[in-house]
Structure formats: structure tokens, C-alpha cells
């Protein structure tokens, strides 16, 4: 039934910027006029442990949490977390992982997540304008230009794996 809802799980380890990446995605979807829900856990789990954030958008989203096996996309900021979050990906869902990103081509090591979002953006009905606005809001600091470049590098890549 949740056909009109797009489900994205972003996962990795505490301290890797998972929350910020999911904020950018949620904002971009919001600016595109969708109903958006985003769920995450703070506190103890953020000290280097497994962390994930669910972003769901579409015409109408009910639960803020993505049911098991219903994620359209799994974005992995750390390859060690593949096994942990794999059960969320649905059959035919797309895995976007740090392995897809040629890290030597990135302008800065801290722009990895933005490059992952760049890859993700090629699949989603979210305008470039909305992405740009979201990235400006959340990453408007010193690395802004580097992040913009990383996002474009991500856009030029295609992720490999589907489930």
C-alpha cells in the first residue's frame, strides 16, 4: 500500500554525519513539497556505535519508521554496517555505499556523505534546486564549495548493487 512513499535508510557509525546527511535529504524532499517524516536515535548510540536514520517522503507518510524489508534505498556511510542494515532493503532496492565513491577523487575526505547523496539524487524525484537549498542550509560553512563538488561527483556515478 505504501507505494507512493519513498523510503531511504542512511546508516553508518556514530560521528560519521549520518544525522546531517539525513537532514539534507529530508529538507530537500520537504522543499519539493512532499510530506516528509524522518526518524533517528540520539544519545548513547551516537558514541561510535551503529547509527541509522529513516527518511520517508511521498504524498502522505504515516509511520516515521521504515518497516523491515521496505527500504527503497540503503545508503551506507560505513561498509562495516552492511550486515546490520541489509534486512531493511527491499527486494529490488538499491544499495548506495562508500564503495561506490572513488575517495581519491573527492575534494575533501569530509565530503563523502555529500557524494553519497549525489548518487542518491539521481534516483529521486527531487529537484536540483531543492538539493542545493538543503545543502546550502546544512553545509554553508567552510567546506561548502567542496561539498557542492562532491555532490556533482556523486551525481556522475551510478551505484552498483541492487538487492
Amino acid at each position: 500500500m505504501a507505494n507512493d512513499v519513498t523510503n531511504v535508510v542512511i546508516a553508518g557509525l556514530g560521528g560519521q554525519g549520518i544525522i546531517r546527511a539525513s537532514d539534507i535529504l529530508a529538507d530537500a524532499a520537504f522543499y519539493s513539497g512532499f510530506d516528509v517524516k524522518k526518524s533517528e536515535i540520539h544519545g548513547m548510540s551516537q558514541r561510535g556505535g551503529s547509527v541509522s536514520s529513516d527518511v520517508r517522503f511521498g504524498k502522505k507518510v504515516w509511520s516515521p519508521m521504515i518497516p523491515m524489508g521496505e527500504a527503497d534505498f540503503l545508503v551506507l556511510c560505513d561498509r562495516s554496517q552492511r550486515e546490520v542494515f541489509w534486512p531493511y532493503l527491499k527486494e529490488g532496492g538499491v544499495l548506495i555505499s562508500v564503495d561506490d565513491i572513488p575517495s581519491d577523487k573527492l575534494p575533501h575526505s569530509k565530503t563523502l556523505n555529500t557524494a553519497l547523496l549525489g548518487v542518491l539524487s539521481t534516483y529521486l524525484p527531487i529537484s536540483l534546486e531543492a538539493w542545493e537549498r538543503a545543502i546550502t542550509l546544512r553545509l554553508g560553512g567552510k567546506l561548502f564549495e567542496a561539498n557542492r563538488q562532491a555532490f556533482d561527483i556523486g551525481r556522475s556515478l551510478i551505484s552498483q548493487a541492487t538487492k
Partner: protein, 546 residues
């Protein structure tokens, strides 16, 4: 693109926006996941917000303000309500003048807590109304309703949030409901505010009369929502669980309760009569199911296995299918650990090496219980490290007693550690005791909040500082030391060994900034100094730490 009347907010942010728009004059609380961002956002929006040393203090300060006619907001996590419970029950008797909204942020599934306490029972036990929002829009709307109910019936109101309401973002359309208030003024009303037995007895009767009225209001309240669907299956639910239910059973009839204390029994009775099978789906304890069955309404509770942890769409599907087979288990994630370079690391190294019996407390440093250190033996609640350690010292044979160390953080020490020091001075164990305060200059666990020991207010402006070592001295602890465990671990170890062998009451402040917080702390100090130099006032705030 976004319209200005549409915001994407966390539930916590939505409460803050509503409070700000309603002219709440004072927000108080103690940081605790998942409640922390409410006051921070309220402050960012320009509201007057302050961290209290603990939840009891926060509630009492707000109560005083509300006695004078101000609208107030008090925030805490579920276990914080235990600390605030003493004034809460009496506040239900005294009532309030302006609004008092107490946010309890419950943590089903214990993502960052030591128990999964269901605070709906507090509303029943204390006798206060309770609203349960499901998402950020309702967090916004129900904050308004809570203020309204509180002012209309002059009673504190609990807004019960849960992790997934606090930390889920959804779209909010803000509404401005409240006209500006008159400035606070005190009106003497001794019979209603002084709870000696002669005045408390009628107060209890007044409270019950108010609750009866509020029950009538709740039965008719627009905060409940009914979704008409199949007459085969009806579901009674509340809070975030409704959202899982709506997704898992799009065809069912649903009664979603907004106000769950007083329970709107008649409303539910009518709903249940319309459907063949009526299931109560609620997170945590079988609160509603028990109430409804006691009232003779034929509802089906969830199987007991779903009492544990959070609900989600998958689990709601299983409940509806009556499926009690073991749930699929996810591969375990990576456990959290102390950051690389955390100043607590050398302390735990040493405690582990010395084979200490460690009475621990609540904070980042609770992670010392996990490998590689496994250097924490007990952890009960805020402040318990000192008192539990004392209990152990009292009864253990001397060779073991001398290995007992109480370890507590700086924020926790101010929260409820202080009375433990009074107890230690008053009833010293024969072998003395050793308390180590891990002072990292912040409340690290919840995201670097200030506390009275940092000498900065919620918005990081300088204020008077409670000096931890001086407090210990003033309370009469014989040996008080300040040391940096990271800069010179050997010296720290030697100090600890001396203390353990001394048979005295020893208080060691292990001081070194949290590495994550250090850059911002230095920035706050730089700004404070600038302002200070500009003002050219003699004296000033002495800086300890790194």
C-alpha cells in the same frame, strides 16, 4: 518550494515553537535524551530557558512562576519525572495560576535509558491530565491544548512524548492561538498553596472534582480522532503507535486518543460497540487495555511479548495477526564506546588495572562498563554512585571495601550527587571512601549542555559557577584533590592508590574537557573574556580545566 506557513520540525522543536508562540514566560528542565532539544530550541527562538541542576528543582521553579500567573514549560526524560515526583503530586493539589506543562519524554526500547518506564501511570497516580501527541504537528497542537487545559482547570498537565515523537521530523503548520498574557502578579491564596493537612484535604477533593470535569471534556474532546473503516476490526490507540497502526491496517476503524488521562471511557465504549473485534494497540504497559477491561469494555490487549521495546509497523501487523512466534532478530550493531581521546579512558584503564569495585552513574562514562574496560560494577540512577558505593563500603570486609570507588560525572554530581556527599560526611564507612568526579566541563552524553558547574547558562553565557571541589570541602570531606588524568596518568594512578589506602573520605576531581566539547568551550570562554575585557570589571570567573 516551501511556504512560510509550513515547517519541517522534530517533535521537540514543535513543542518549543508552540510554547514560544503561546508566550511561555519560562522554560526549565534537565537535559535528558530524548527531551533535550525542547528547551534548546525554545531558547534559540528567543524564549527564556534555563537548565536546572535536576528535575525536581526545574519543576519547583516553574511551579513558583506559574503561581504568579506565568505560562511555564518543564521538560525532562521519563526517569527525570521520578526525581520530580515529590513536588508533582502536591502540585496537582495546589494547582497553578498560569499554565504549567510538564513534558515527559519516555524512551520505549531504551535507546538511551536505564529502564522503559511508562509515565502514563504518573498521570493517573498524581491525578493530572495527560495528552499524547503522535507526530510533530500534534506535538505543536497538543502543547497548545495542554496550556489551555492547564489554565482552564488550574492544574499541571503532562504532555507525554516518546522517542519517536521527539526525534522524528514531520511537517508542521504553526497556528497562533493565544492572545498575550497580563504580566505575572502574585495574588495571595494561602489555603490553596500551603499544603498542611487541613488545607490539603479539601485540595484533594477539589482535584478529584476537576478530574471528573476534565473526563467529561476528554470524552467530547476534538483531540481524539476517529477513522471510520471496516466494522470487522476496530483499533484503540494513542501517540506514535497510531501512525504505525494506520500504515499496518489501512482498512481498520481506528480511535486515536489524544487525551489519555482521564481516559475517555464513554467515547471508547461507543467506538468498541461499533466493531466486531476491538484491539488496543499501545506501546509499553497495557495501560489503556487494563482501564477499559476494568470498565467492562470488551477489548483485546496486545500479547505480553509486545510490552517490551518500541512498536513499529511490523510489530503492529503481528499483533493484529495474533502472532506470538519469536520475532526475527537483527544482526547486532556495533556497540558504542568512549570516543578516541576521551579523558575518561585513562581513568578506566587505571580503575581496571587496580581491580576496583566501581559504583557508577549515568552519563558517557557509563560506557566504561563495556569492553575493553568493563570497569563499572553498578549503575542505578542519577547520583546513586556515591550512595551505593557507601552501602558497599559499610558491609564489605575491609580488603574489599578499600577497593570500592564511586565514579560520577560533573553534571550528575550537581544533579543528585550532592546529598550523597552529605551522607558520606555524616555516616562515614570505617574504611573511608573514594569519590571520583569525572569533570569534563559539560553534560557530554546529551549533546554538551551546560550545568551549574560549568558556570555558563543554557545559552552559554557566563554566570556564577558552582565549584565542585569547594562544595566538597565545604561539606566537610577531609581530602579533596583536583588532577588531570589525561595529562599525567601516572600521577593520577598514584593519587588514587593513596586515597584507596588512606581510610579517609577522599574526593578526587578528575578534570579534563570532553574532546568533542573542548573547541566550543574554548570559544565560549574566549567570548566571555572579550566581553569581560570590554567591561573592565575587576575580579572575574576563574578558569579550571585544561
Amino acid at each position: 518550494m516551501a511556504q512560510p506557513d509550513r515547517l519541517l520540525l522534530f517533535g521537540n522543536e514543535a513543542v518549543a515553537h508552540a510554547a514560544r508562540n503561546a508566550g511561555v514566560a519560562l522554560g526549565t528542565g534537565y537535559p535528558g535524551t530524548p527531551s533535550t532539544e525542547i528547551l534548546e530550541t525554545f531558547s534559540d527562538l528567543g524564549g527564556k530557558a534555563q537548565w536546572a541542576p535536576n528535575e525536581k528543582v526545574a519543576l519547583e521553579v516553574a511551579l513558583g512562576a506559574s503561581f504568579c500567573g506565568a505560562r511555564t514549560l518543564v521538560t525532562m526524560k521519563h526517569v527525570g519525572v521520578n526525581v520530580a515526583a515529590d513536588p508533582l503530586f502536591t502540585a496537582a493539589y495546589t494547582g497553578v495560576e498560569g499554565a504549567l506543562v510538564l513534558v515527559s519524554a519516555d524512551d520505549p526500547g531504551m535507546h538511551s535509558s536505564q529502564n522503559e518506564q511508562d509515565n502514563r501511570y504518573y498521570a493517573v497516580a498524581a491525578g493530572i491530565p495527560m495528552l499524547e501527541p503522535a507526530d510533530a504537528q500534534e506535538a505543536y497542537d497538543f502543547t497548545n491544548s495542554a496550556i489551555e487545559i492547564s489554565e482552564k482547570w488550574k492544574i499541571p498537565v503532562m504532555l507525554r512524548m516518546t522517542t519517536r515523537v521527539c526525534h522524528s521530523k514531520s511537517v508542521v503548520r504553526p497556528r497562533w492561538l493565544f492572545p498575550p498574557l497580563d504580566p505575572p502578579r502574585y495574588q495571595r491564596n494561602i489555603r490553596e498553596r500551603v499544603m498542611i493537612p487541613a488545607y490539603a484535604r479539601p485540595a484533594h477533593r477539589r482535584l478529584r472534582a476537576k478530574l471528573a470535569e476534565i473526563e467529561a471534556y476528554s470524552n467530547a474532546c476534538a483531540c481524539h480522532r476517529e477513522y471510520e473503516g471496516s466494522t470487522e476490526l476496530g483499533i484503540v490507540t494513542s501517540g506514535v503507535t497510531f501512525l504505525h497502526v494506520r500504515e499496518a491496517a489501512p482498512d481498520a476503524s481506528i480511535l486515536k486518543l489524544g487525551c489519555t488521562h482521564p481516559v475517555p471511557i464513554e467515547r471508547i465504549r461507543k467506538f468498541a460497540a461499533k466493531v466486531k473485534r476491538c484491539v488496543v494497540i499501545e506501546e509499553g504497559e497495557p495501560y489503556l487495555a487494563t482501564f477499559l477491561r476494568a470498565a467492562g469494555i470488551a477489548v483485546e490487549p496486545k500479547p505480553d511479548m509486545y510490552r517490551f521495546g518500541e512498536l513499529n509497523v511490523d510489530r503492529v501487523r503481528r499483533i493484529l495477526a495474533g502472532d506470538t512466534s519469536p520475532e526475527p532478530s537483527l544482526p547486532p550493531g556495533k556497540l558504542p564506546e568512549l570516543c578516541k581521546g576521551c579523558p575518561y579512558r585513562p581513568v578506566y584503564d587505571i580503575l581496571h588495572r587496580l581491580d576496583c569495585i566501581v559504583a557508577g552513574d549515568i552519563g558517557c562514562y557509563t560506557l566504561g562498563v563495556l569492553p575493553p574496560y568493563e570497569a563499572m560494577d553498578t549503575c542505578v540512577c542519577m547520583g546513586a554512585s556515591i550512595t551505593v558505593g557507601l552501602g558497599m563500603r559499610h558491609v564489605l570486609p575491609p580488603d574489599q571495601a578499600r577497593r570500592v570507588v564511586s565514579v560520577i560525572g560533573d553534571s550528575t554530581f550537581v544533579h543528585t550527587g550532592l546529598p550523597g556527599i552529605a551522607e558520606m560526611v555524616y555516616n562515614p564507612p570505617p574504611t573511608g571512601h573514594v569519590v571520583v568526579v569525572l569533570d569534563n566541563g559539560t553534560t557530554a552524553m546529551t549533546g554538551q549542555q551546560e550545568h551549574p558547574g560549568t558556570g555558563r547558562t543554557l545559552d552559554h553565557k557566563p554566570t556564577n559557577q558552582v565549584k565542585i571541589e569547594e562544595v566538597a570541602r565545604a561539606l566537610g570531606v577531609s581530602r579533596v584533590h583536583v588532577a588531570d588524568p589525561t595529562r599525567d596518568p601516572q600521577a593520577f594512578e598514584k593519587l588514587l592508590v593513596d586515597c584507596l589506602n588512606s581510610n579517609e573520605l577522599c574526593f578526587v576531581v578528575a578534570r579534563h574537557y570532553c574532546i568533542l566539547a573542548a573547541p566550543s568551550i574554548r570559544e565560549f570562554e574566549r567570548r566571555a573574556k572579550q566581553e569581560f575585557d570590554y567591561q573592565c570589571v575587576p575580579g572575574g570567573v576563574e578558569k579550571d580545566g585544561e
